[in-house]
């Protein structure tokens, strides 16, 4: 992972105990990539979407359960299924 920082954005100021956080980073060939990440619920319905940061990172405040992350970058999209729990960080590294 040359230029990519592992994991999601920093957690300063975030109440991890009370939130259900899904976060991570988007990379291509180990380098952070700019794009968008969508959060889909267990029926595949759109719940939220964020642009990635300059270092490819993203974060969602979800609810406990099963979710799908869909990464959108120029020319491709990648889906990843995740299970989130309250008070536990769910870290997802997505390579596109």
């Amino acid at each position: 992972m040359c230029g990519a920082k592992a994991g999601g954005p920093g957690l300063a100021g975030v109440d991890v105990a009370t939130e259900t956080i899904i976060q991570g980073s988007l990379t291509r060939d180990g380098e952070p990539v700019s794009g968008y990440v969508r959060l889909l619920d267990d029926s595949g319905e759109f719940t939220a979407e964020v642009p990635t940061s300059a270092t490819g990172q993203f974060r969602f405040f979800a609810a406990p359960g099963t979710w799908t992350l869909r990464a959108l970058v120029p020319g491709s999209s990648v889906d990843r299924a995740v299970v989130a729990q309250k008070g536990n960080l769910t870290e997802v590294a997505i390579a596109v």
Binding site: V14, D15, T18, E19, T20, S34, G35, Y36, R38, L39, D41, S43, E45, F46, T47, A48, E49, V50, P51, R59, F60, F61, A62, A63, R70, L72, V73, P74, S77
Partner: protein, 279 residues
């Protein structure tokens, strides 16, 4: 009114990028996105700082809107093209807001900032030279497109209420869209008899709007009686502005209002009925 009167694609914007009578305006939820980069010649309107009363929860008044547009160099006969992040949520909100104050020619860039980026089109960092000051004349607010809390309560069981939030916000599982922290003061749930038709069902993954036929089938398939008046709401009125745009501007439904107080107001009212659970 045809789709091209209210919606333009990226090629149209590219062809009019230097047209002095076309004002390209970026409106984002993340109001710093413009500083990172933006479409060439685009100016910024900040939905929070520019469009809201600084003290009360309400919009700037007619004179305030006139001052804002005059200062940004927007004339009454300019074509305003709005675009932004989050699949044009706040651009659609600004579109509805410009219509509220009677601006004639407003259009949305289909797909907004996201599609522009995913298509790898050019973005610039430098802001354009300020446009010359104008003497903008706004109309009084067109209250046929804006609903208030009493309208929402009266609509229960009689008009179409369309809750355009995600299913988990509708059912009460989440209190805010999942890119925001969930600590909120209001009660979870939805207005009784509301149909849950998330705004996102009206858009493709790249943020562009679906076809008119697909959109009509969507609302009718979810039980919305298009012969009745409709009130759309979400959390603060931006996603429901997106649905207002679909119903009123794309499908040409005559009586559609956006309830901008939305769930952050309704869910805090004392004594009003609330329903929990999925639709």
């Amino acid at each position: 009114m045809s789709r091209s009167d209210v919606l333009v694609d990226a090629d149209w914007v590219q062809a009019h990028i230097d047209d002095p009578k076309v004002v390209i305006v970026e409106v984002d939820e993340d109001t710093s996105a413009y500083e990172k980069n933006h479409i060439k010649n685009a100016i910024r309107i900040d939905w929070k700082k520019d469009l809201q009363d600084p003290v009360r929860r309400d919009f700037i008044d007619q004179a305030g809107f006139e001052r804002l547009l005059s200062e940004r160099g927007i004339a009454n006969d300019d074509t305003v093209v709005l675009y932004g992040g989050n699949n044009n949520w706040f651009a659609a909100y600004a579109y509805w807001y410009f219509k509220l104050y009677g601006h004639q020619d407003v259009r949305l860039l289909d797909g907004g900032r996201k599609k522009w980026e995913l298509d790898s089109r050019d973005l610039v960092v430098d802001a354009p030279a300020p446009r010359p000051h104008t003497e903008y004349q706004a109309q009084e607010q067109d209250l046929t497109i804006r609903a208030f809390r009493d309208d929402a309560i009266k609509a229960i069981g009689s008009l179409n209420l369309v809750d355009v939030r995600s299913p988990d916000e509708f059912s009460g599982k989440l209190l805010a869209p999942a890119h925001l922290p969930q600590e909120q003061s209001q009660r979870p749930g939805h207005i009784p008899t509301a149909h849950n038709i998330p705004w996102s069902k009206a858009a493709n993954d790249d943020g562009t709007f679906k076809s008119d036929d697909e959109l009509k089938a969507l609302y009718e398939g979810e039980g919305v009686d298009l012969s009745k008046d409709t009130i759309a709401y979400c959390r603060i009125g931006e996603r429901s502005a997106h649905t207002w745009f679909v119903l009123h501007e794309l499908l040409g439904q005559p009586n559609v209002r956006n309830y901008d107080g939305s769930w952050t107001e309704y869910g805090s009212l004392v004594g009003v009925p609330i329903e929990l659970g999925a639709s």
